[in-house]
Symmetry: C3
Subunit: 353 residues, 3 copies
C-alpha cells in the first residue's frame, strides 16, 4: 500500500518549478495536456504503441512515453522515469480502468492528484451508493430480489463492458427472460444491480472541489450520448432491437438556473460526506450522474470521483466556467491551475496523495 | 398604473454614470450580471434568503439584496433602495412569474428595460396568439371544442406548473379520459388550450431588437430539454408512462442557413406587429418558440417577450453572435450594451419604460 | 471541361495580394465570410434577390453580388466579374446543389478550392460507396432486390428532396406498400438505394486535409437535427406518422477520446483512397456521415467532399480546433488560412483546381 508519507517524500525530491502533468493517452488526455500547457506546466502522456502516433500529432502534447501495456505503469522502471521527470499523475476514467483502482492504491508510487481511496470507492457500486446516501442524495430504489420488481428497472453489470449488457425489465418474468440472453460470466451476472429506472432528463454536472480554499465550483455539464439507445429513439418502433448504453460521446447542456442552488448544495454534501467516510475525501474534479424528474428532483445513480469525459465538450471553457474565469477554463486546465496554486502556496501535499 | 412620464421622471433623478443592472436571482441572472460586468456597469440581484449564499458565491455578482419574498420588490421600501442605486430592472421569465405582469404594470415604479405592456401580452396565451397571427406567423390549429379534435393535439394549461400537466390526445375520447386525471382546479382546467401537435424539430431563436437603430439581431438558438419527455424517448416503449414537459435545461443548436432569411423576416414582422398592437411594442430580447416541419415551414406556438433561459447556453457568445461581434456577446451582455449605448446617446427614455 | 491548365492561367492573372473568397449566400456562407475576414482576405457572396438584404445585414460580409438565378454563375458575364475581382470559389453543399457538379466541372472557369472531380464523386451515391469501400470503411449492407431484405432498411432517393421521402422498411412487403405512397417520378423511385439501417449514435466529423504539408485535422463534430424524425422521437407512440429526414439544423457533440485514433486513421484512408481513385483527390474540408455501433465500430453511410453545414455550430471554434489553434478556428477560417498559406508559399496551384 502506497503511504501518504512515502508520496510526500517523493514530492520532497521533486523540482517544483518543473512539474509535469501526466496521464494515459485516452479519455480526456488531450484536454488535460492543453490545460497543463495553458497554465505553463509541461505534460507527458503514457501511450501504447498503437496510439502513440495519434497523440504525437496534437500540438498541445509535450512528451509521449510509449509503453507496451498500460499495466507497465506499475513497473519500477516506468515509475522511476516518472518520478525523475517530476510527474504528477492525473487519473481519468480510462486510467482507473486500465491500471486498476487497487493497483493505484497498492503499487503506484508517484504523486497523484486527489485521494487514492476515493478511486476505490468509485470503483465499487455499493460503496458509491453508500456515499451518495450519506450525502443525502436521492438514489434510485434498488431491488435485492427479482421477485420484488414492481416498476421499470434497469439491470446493470459491473465492469467496463457494462453499458452494452445493461437491460430494462418491467417485472420479474421480463428480468428472468432477458437475463438468460446476457453473455457474461455467471459470477458477473450474479453481481448485477437491479435499479429503479427513473425517467427524466439526464445531467452530468462537472464539479471541482479545492481544499486550498474549501471552494466548490461548477465547471460545466453534459449529456452522455449512448449507443445504441440514442439511435433507437429515432425509430418509430423498436423493431425488437434491445437498447444498449455504451457511451460514445457527449453533448453540452445547461441546467435551469433555479435548480443550481440545490445542485451546488448537493455537491457540497458529496464532499462533506466523503471527508467523513474516507478522509481526506473528494479532492479535485468529480461528477454526479443524475436524472431530473418532472417534479424537479435530482436522482443520482453514480458518482465519478475524477475528471469525466464529458468535460471534453468544454476544452475551451463552458457557460459556467465563463461565469468564474475571464479565461477559457476547462476542467483539465483547472486541474493544472490547482497544481500551480498549491505549488505557489507550498501546499502540494494537500492535494497530492 | 405606472406611467411613462413617472418613469422618465425617476430616470431624470438617476446618475447615468452609475447605472445598476438589476434583476431577481434566478432564470438568467448570472448571465445578466456577467453581461453588466463585461460592459462596465454594476449589477444587483434581488434574492430570497435561501438563494442568497448561492448568488453571492459567483464572482460576476456585485451586490445581492436579500428580501423575504419576491413580492417585496413591490414594497415602497425596496423600490426606494433600487431607485437610490440607479437601478434598471431587466425582467426575465422568473421575474415576471414571481412578481406578476399585472403588478409590474401597476406598481413597480422603477425603470425597466423594454415595454411593460408587452409582458402582459406575453402572459396571456390568447393575446400571444393574436400577436403571432398579426405578424403572419403560422400557428398550430386551435380547437375550441374537444369534439372537433381530428388530429394529434396537446392540451396546455395556464401557469407555471403547466408543463407538468400538459397531455397529448388523439381524439375526443382520449382527451376526456386524460382530462379526468389532471390534478388542477376546475377553473384552470376550463382555461386549457387544445392545440394541434405539430411534429418537427423545435427551435428557440434568441432575437434582440434595438429601437436605437431599428436593428434586429439573432444572438443564438437553443432546444429546450424537458422532463420527463426527453427521457421517455429513450425507452423502447413508454411502459404506460405519460409524457410531461417541464423545462429542466437547454441544448445549443444552429439552424440550416437557408432558413435564416425567413426567420429574420418573421422576427421583423413580430416587432412590426407589436408596434401596431401595443406601442411602443417589443424592445430588447425576445424568443419565438417554434417547430420546423419537414416542409421547412415554421410553426410558432409561443413568444417570450424578454430574455429566455435558453440564452444561458451562450454566456460566452454563440455561433451567431460571433458573426456580429468580435467579443463574446451573450444576450445578457447585449442588454447592458444597449443600456450603455442609449445612455451615451442620451436616449435611455427610448428603451426604458 | 475546365482544364487545370486553364485555371492555372486564370490564377496567373490574379493579384495574389487581393484574393477574394467567394461562394453562394446559403449553407455556410456566413462562416466562410467571417473566416476570410479573420484571415485578412476579402469575401464576396453571390445572392439571389430575395436573400440579398439578409446577407447584406451581417457585418462579416464584404460584398454581395446579386444575381437573378444561381445558374447565372455559369454565365460568361458573372465569371468575368469574379475573375476580375481575383475570386476563389469555395463550394459548399448548396453551391454544388444549385450550380450542379457537372456544370462546375464543365463550365465554371474560376479557380475553386479543392478538386472538381471530387464533387462529381460525391454527387453520385454509387461512387461514394466505391470510395468509402476503397478506404476500408465499413458501410451499411445494400440490397439490390427488395426480396432480399432481411433486416431493418432505410430506402433513400437521389436528389435534394431526398430526406423527406426516405422511409424505413422491415421486409419486402413493408417496402412495397410504402413505395406506392412515395410521391416521386418513377425514374427517381427506380434509382432508390435500399440500405441496412444501422442503429447507433450518429456522428458527422469535420476533417480538413491540407496537401501543403500532408496533414489531416479534426476541426469539429456535430449531429444533424432532422425533421420530423427528431420530433417524432418525443411522442410516446408514432400515431401513424411516418418519419422523414430533412436536415433543419445541427447540434454540437464530442466523441469518446478512445475512438479518435481510429477516426483519424479512417480519415487518412479516405484521403489516400481519393488520391488513387481520382487524383489529386480530396483536398480541404470533408465530412464522414457515420453511425457508431454499441460495439464501437463506425459505419459510414455518406461522404461530403466539401465544407458541411454542421461546421456552423463552431463559427467560433470547436473543442477540437481549440486543441490545434490558439485562435478560434472554424472550418471557414481554416479554408482562408489554407489559401493564405498557399499564397505565401507560392503554392496556390496545389490547392486550387
Amino acid at each position: 500500500m502506497i503511504s501518504k508519507k512515502g508520496i510526500d517524500k517523493v514530492l520532497e525530491g521533486y523540482n517544483q518549478k518543473k512539474l509535469v502533468v501526466c496521464t494515459i493517452g485516452s479519455h480526456s488526455a488531450l484536454q488535460i495536456a492543453k490545460g497543463a500547457r495553458d497554465e505553463g506546466l509541461s505534460n507527458l502522456l503514457l501511450c501504447n504503441r498503437k496510439n502513440t502516433p495519434f497523440y504525437k500529432s496534437w500540438p498541445v502534447v509535450d512528451v509521449v512515453l510509449t509503453i507496451d501495456s498500460y499495466k507497465d505503469i506499475l513497473s519500477e522502471k516506468v515509475q522511476e522515469v516518472l518520478r525523475e521527470r517530476n510527474a504528477i499523475i492525473v487519473p481519468h476514467g480510462s486510467f482507473v480502468e486500465y491500471v486498476g483502482a487497487g493497483n493505484i492504491l497498492e503499487k503506484l508510487n508517484v504523486p497523484l492528484l486527489g485521494s487514492r481511496v476515493v478511486l476505490e470507492w468509485e470503483s465499487d457500486r455499493k460503496k458509491q451508493f453508500q456515499w451518495l446516501k450519506a450525502a443525502g442524495a436521492r438514489t434510485p430504489k434498488e431491488f435485492q430480489n427479482p421477485e420484488d420488481i414492481d416498476r421499470l428497472v434497469i439491470v446493470k453489470f459491473p465492469g467496463a463492458k457494462g453499458g452494452a449488457d445493461y437491460f430494462l425489465a418491467k417485472d420479474e418474468k421480463d428480468y428472468s427472460t432477458k437475463m438468460i440472453d446476457v453473455n457474461l460470466p455467471d459470477k458477473v451476472k450474479a453481481d448485477c444491480m437491479i435499479q429503479e429506472y427513473v425517467v427524466g432528463t439526464r445531467f452530468y454536472p462537472h464539479f471541482f472541489y479545492s481544499p486550498l480554499d474549501d471552494s466548490l465550483q461548477l465547471l460545466g455539464m453534459d449529456i452522455r450520448y449512448e449507443s445504441n439507445v440514442d439511435g433507437l429513439s429515432r425509430l418509430p418502433d423498436s423493431f425488437g432491437i434491445e437498447p444498449s448504453y455504451v457511451v460514445t460521446g457527449n453533448i453540452p447542456v445547461v441546467m435551469r438556473e433555479s435548480l443550481l442552488p440545490g445542485l451546488m448544495e448537493l455537491g457540497r454534501n458529496i464532499v462533506k460526506a466523503s471527508k467523513k467516510l474516507f478522509p481526506p475525501g473528494m479532492l479535485g474534479p468529480f461528477c454526479l450522474e443524475m436524472v431530473c424528474t418532472p417534479e424537479l428532483e435530482f436522482v443520482c445513480f453514480e458518482v465519478s470521483a475524477r475528471i469525466v469525459a464529458g468535460t471534453n465538450v468544454f476544452v475551451n471553457g463552458s457557460p459556467y466556467s465563463a461565469l468564474l474565469y475571464d479565461e477559457p477554463m476547462s476542467c483539465g486546465r483547472r486541474i493544472s491551475r490547482e497544481i500551480k496554486e498549491a505549488a505557489a502556496q507550498d501546499k502540494l501535499k494537500e492535494i497530492l496523495y
